[in-house]
């Protein structure tokens, strides 16, 4: 019964999202995106633009990701290895 109610809710909201939010995929890339495409290879020297953004332009973001991963390990360690019987 609960699964049925959940399914109905998902279908209703799916229809709402499909017909009301006209999502556009792609489009204009904006100032930052055009700058990455034009100057990315010459400024970083890396052919892979995604890697250039992740490890050079947005390395601070990658630092945050590694910290989040470290905190995830810490959480699992605390929850699963905390009680020694």
């Amino acid at each position: 019964m609960k699964a049925m109610i959940g399914f109905i809710i998902v279908v209703i909201f799916g229809i709402l999202i499909l017909f009301n939010l006209k999502l556009e995929f792609g489009g204009e890339s904006g100032i930052a995106g055009e700058m990455y495409i034009e100057k990315g290879v010459s400024e970083t020297g890396a052919v892979n633009l995604v890697s250039a953004i992740l490890a050079n332009y947005r390395a601070y973001d990658t630092l945050g990701e590694t910290i989040i991963f470290f905190i995830a390990i810490l959480g699992v360690f605390t929850v699963l290895k905390g009680d020694k019987k």
Binding site: V41, S42, E43, T44, G45, A46, V47, N48, V50, S51, A52, L54, A55, N56, A59, Y60, T62, L63, E65, T66, F69, F70, A72, I73, V76, F77, L80, K81
Partner: protein, 136 residues
């Protein structure tokens, strides 16, 4: 749980998995991939070994590798302050784009992240599998 067939197949497959993970990490600035992706492949290789051969194969010094990876990553970032002016600046010569030795600090950052994520996932799987074995 593991039979002779599974153990033999794991012995054959594991070196290629490690090679593929290291390839993804080292070529992170040339082909799709990078530190995170290659590190996850290395971590799943550790998971395969744990499932087949048991968690006694776990190396307790693995957490040191995780710390070393994170420290190298931070060290490169702090070196960027002194040589380039801001955190994580690309201060080494860029080289010709397309070569293996190009991209300045990007390959080194990828190596550090790969070390950290691979060791981190191995530790994560080890803790969860240890908990599951203790629960039985």
């Amino acid at each position: 749980m593991s039979s002779r067939i599974v153990e033999t197949a794991t012995d054959i497959v594991t070196p290629f998995m490690i090679l593929f993970g290291v390839y993804i990490i080292i070529n992170g600035h040339l082909t799709p991939g990078g530190g995170f992706q290659g590190g996850v492949i290395l971590g799943s290789c550790a998971l395969l070994i744990y499932v087949v051969f048991g968690i006694k194969r776990h190396n307790k010094n693995l957490s040191i590798f995780e710390n070393i990876g994170a420290l190298i990553f931070l060290f490169i970032g702090v070196l960027g302050i002194f040589f380039g002016g801001f955190l994580f600046s690309n201060f080494i010569t860029k080289g010709t784009p397309g070569n293996l030795l190009s991209g300045g600090t990007i390959p080194f950052i990828n190596l550090a992240i790969g070390l950290k994520i691979g060791a981190g996932f191995a530790i994560l799987f080890f803790i969860i599998l240890q908990y599951i074995e203790k629960g039985d």
